[in-house]
Symmetry: C2
Subunit: 391 residues, 2 copies
Amino acid sequence: MSPKGFLFSTAEAAIKDTGRKDLALIYSEAEAVIAGTFTTNKVKAAPVKLNIKKIRSGRGQVIMINSGNANACTGKKGIQDAAEMARLVAHGLNVKSSLVYVCSTGVIGVPMPMERVRSKISELIGNLGKSNIEDVAAAIMTTDTLPKIVKRWIKISNKRGVIAGICKGAGMICPNMATMLCFLMTDIAVQQKTLDKTLRDAVRQSFNRITVDGDRSTNDTALIMANGRLGNPLITERSEAYTAFKKALYDATTELSRLIVKDGEGATKFIEIEVKGAKSNADAERAAFSVANSNLVKTAIYGNDPNWGRIMAALGYSGIPIKEEKVDIYFGKVKIVNKGLGTGKDEDAKEVLKEKEIRIVIDLHLGRSSVKVLTCDLTEEYVRANKAYRT
Amino acid sequence: MSPKGFLFSTAEAAIKDTGRKDLALIYSEAEAVIAGTFTTNKVKAAPVKLNIKKIRSGRGQVIMINSGNANACTGKKGIQDAAEMARLVAHGLNVKSSLVYVCSTGVIGVPMPMERVRSKISELIGNLGKSNIEDVAAAIMTTDTLPKIVKRWIKISNKRGVIAGICKGAGMICPNMATMLCFLMTDIAVQQKTLDKTLRDAVRQSFNRITVDGDRSTNDTALIMANGRLGNPLITERSEAYTAFKKALYDATTELSRLIVKDGEGATKFIEIEVKGAKSNADAERAAFSVANSNLVKTAIYGNDPNWGRIMAALGYSGIPIKEEKVDIYFGKVKIVNKGLGTGKDEDAKEVLKEKEIRIVIDLHLGRSSVKVLTCDLTEEYVRANKAYRT
């Protein structure tokens, strides 16, 4: 069951390789409250720049997405194109252009093929209701191997509200960038301020805690629309129902971020790195990312090599305080490092690394903060996929 | 011609695979002034910890090097072992232990095989003078494919002084770490303070401007001994000869750092990335490293793909101020980006990328600072070499 009052549509404008859908619409029958987070990259795609301005109103009704072209590094023309895309859709749907958000993913530095896009707008609008959320999840894929969809249900005042979310991955999107796009929609009535805060918190704990290769895209975006069609009393941070709503949103973004890492380009293994016993969350996060982004750690895990020295080195150059003689490291349940020294349990650890999902716990024994970061291994296939000349 | 008054020796203690030398001595007949720089990694190998203390005296006479074992993450036993290695060599050579520096490279977290080392000390000392600097350069190799040696000559007061240097690479040293070791020796008399300052400056401009994979080792070390055997008037920063000395040392470290990158593990291409027009050197360096460490940039270059969008994205997430609409990017002489927009010269740029040595210039047009960073491409061979289980 999808959230009430949302309609979906897809079309093919041959922006990416032919034979695949590359345009999509998410349309709320009623004007909705909206919240969003955007890439911190200083080079932002044209539609991201526009969305950042629009979202100040907190209102939205339509999200238009194209895959195959990022509309990034495209100058003034790119801004004009993104604005035109919003205008055309707004006109066709008879909504205000300020309520239409455009999101793009694909190749950087190539002008949007506007003729092909324009020619497909009426078809895209005409298709509304003919596609479902799964079709949209497929249309926004680039090198993703699977569409990524989650749904969470919450009981509020004897009604069942839904949060549905889709995303496309940071498998590092061929032919270009690691763009993460995420669209969430719910029929639950939520105060905009509450929606905004909860989304930011959820994104911080989920999408901002994953890394495939450390590269951050020009287009990363997460948007959530809440249209209130459930008819529940408006949820604010003081509502009794807020805890359940917050948990459902956290769960949804966490699950989506896990799906992204699992579909990491060329990845054969899903790796959770937990750093605990840090003096602060910031320290824990920095250390966890230092390990998660180390090519040496990632290739060792790919090769089933419990090479904990590489982890110690990555902790050492992370920049946070480390006391080598206090560090414990576990691969699964196998303690491979005790107080900074190897335990010699390499053979047991090697068995753990042969699994598809690997959990590494690093205890710094310096404080009480802990952070989990998700990543994947680095393989020859990653190199092969990303060396390919853009087609 | 080597610097006067230095003797060399090598031996095999089966620390690394048998059949290869893994112990080496660099011995100055006279006590020398010494200067050094060491890894900034907070997890430091045992011998590094000892060297950092010893070098405060500014005096040295012997450098003992072993390959095959990093003596890192080895706790108190590691410190004892490193101290014993220095003591044994000092005893055999009848010099003070405080003048003996031990440097190690190889696997992390495995105790030094002291029995095998001890049994080879007298042979190592007995061999002094039977090996040359080339033999030492070979003995300190791990996954390096070639020994790395440079020599520079300087005329001072009608005499010809020599600076000779050897190093081993950050090809990421199999089976473990990207350890960079560099040993320089000269017969020129140099004031310790001057030697120290000049080495630090030279390292900053050379070894600290290269990256193979962004991982920093627990063992990185650069040492220079000056024994004054040339008999020249002591060089200080005020000496007329200082300029020539400084230039020669810069040249030597620059050349050695280039050799390291060229021998980067699995590398097929040598890449120089120059960021200019930055507001400060710190900004330029940060931007250049952000590009040089991007797996996406490195795989694109490997695949001859002039994928400048990945460079723009790496500049964008480097954290420095960027004005997208001012950025120019050149591959060789081909201007691929003009004021933030693609010039469409992809075919020309592709030809440039087919070369073995590639120069990328990024002009931010924001200021007057510039920095060059050297790196190499990321290949399947890198992954293959680093996934291999330690043997």
